[in-house]
């Protein structure tokens, strides 16, 4: 199991964890540190008022918004939606933690989740364009806002980030075109995911500790 797979599977950890997850955590300090931090958040969560938990209306409105933007599609009656899964996840052991993880990771995961789990074969056959988060803003920022932040904090780095953003956006656009051309191409889908991860990393580096 890789670090990415572990982090994507965190929502599935209940009271214990799977043998695979435990094996990875035993050997990976960065993931075990992440899990420790999540555990701390969860330990603190009961102190929060129950009333502060988002109501089903919140999840519904997010779901409607995502549908309107074409990021997810209506599901069959017996098929759970991404948001209902997210809502149920919020009641699981890692629920509060999931609400606390960075918005960037959330947007990436929503994109991957919608693409990989919720596209039915019928949708693929119809050749509908993939619903992904290409236009979604990561961490609540769009590219221009990110560059503005960098200009404010560290003007010398702005040109580097602008160039990197252009490159990674090209990467996403090319990867998306290949997936659109052949939605069954697993490698292409993986490439698209990696392109988004590169952009996620860019935002992370910009906003993380390495930026002075």
């Amino acid at each position: 199991m890789t670090c990415v797979e572990l982090q994507q599977s965190l929502a599935e950890i209940e009271n214990g964890s799977t043998a695979e997850q435990q094996a990875h955590l035993r050997t990976c300090s960065s993931c075990s540190a992440l899990v420790e931090e999540l555990a701390l958040i969860i330990a603190a969560a009961p102190a929060l008022l129950e009333a502060e938990e988002p109501s089903p209306r919140v999840w519904n409105s997010i779901e409607i918004q995502l549908r309107q933007e074409g990021l997810i599609r209506p599901q069959r009656a017996n098929q759970p939606s991404a948001l209902s899964l997210a809502a149920s996840a919020s009641r699981s052991r890692w629920g509060w933690a999931r609400l606390m993880v960075p918005a960037a990771a959330l947007m990436i995961l929503i994109g991957i989740y919608v693409n990989q789990r919720f596209r039915t074969p019928q949708q693929l056959v119809k050749g509908q364009p993939l619903a992904i988060t290409s236009e979604a803003n990561i961490a609540g920022l769009n590219d221009d806002e990110l560059l503005q932040e960098i200009s404010n904090q560290s003007p010398a780095l702005r040109a580097q980030y602008a160039d990197s953003l252009r490159r990674v956006n090209d990467y996403i656009a090319d990867a998306k075109r290949i997936v659109d051309a052949d939605p069954y191409d697993e490698e292409a889908r993986r490439s698209l995911m990696e392109a988004y991860q590169q952009k996620s990393m860019l935002f992370e580096l910009a906003m993380d500790r390495s930026l002075p």
């Binding site: 490159r167 990674v168 090209d170």
Partner: protein
Amino acid sequence: MSGRTIKLVALSVMVAGTLLAENRKEYRFNVGPKASVSVNNPYGSISVRPSSGNTVVVNALLHSDKVEVDNTQTANRVYIQSHLLPGADANSGQVDYEVLVPTDASITLHSSTGQLYAEKLHGDVTMEGTASPVNARDLSNAHVHVKTLNGAVTLRNVQDGHVEVDSLSGEVTLNGVNGPLVQVVSTSGNIVYIGDFGSSGEYRLTSHSGDIEATIPETTSADVSARSVRGEVHDDIPLQPKTHTSFVIQQGRAFAGTMGRAAVSSTVVLRTFSGKIHLKKRADK
């Protein structure tokens, strides 16, 4: 006083001023097995080498009084942070660190511009930087995670590693790197692999527009799949072609096959969108 003497005096004053402004500090921490050491340094280099005992030694060279070093130890974790004071910039805020850690310690290094370096460790290594060149060598049984924007990454002699490198545009060079997982993802940087792909690992080298070059001995055992959407692929080593692949083999754009003994082979995936892929045979000495 001659002109030459005046110049010498002026130079001496400048050197003395620089030395006065520079400030060396040393910090020592006693730690247990598998300690965790984190160094966050916006400007400046960080080098990590093994110490002889269960001690973490941090030598910091501060380039001005516009920066301080915050240090804390919580149980088996040591945190070092360069603390920029008002008015600090890339020069005055610079700190260069030389850190000695027990060989089994896990380290996390952050810098924006300075070189990140680690050697001879077998704990986990995480290195993140914006323009920082990243170098690591002689690591074993470690998770090695590297993230850079445009700094070059060079890993040399990493054995049984769980290696994940993400770089936007920096060149990535892996020399003698093997393990269960070796993965490089780059947007536009070239990727160079020199080695033998181990015996049973998964090797994924992906770049959007960068070139990928793998130089391996002819005795390598590996299942190799290479594909460039718009670029070219070249293969100097004869492969036994695969009858079934997950993609259409387009001549000059992709190849897939097995070399050496399939039973003990690693899986090698080379992918680029517009770059070139070259699987080269290592010249025997």
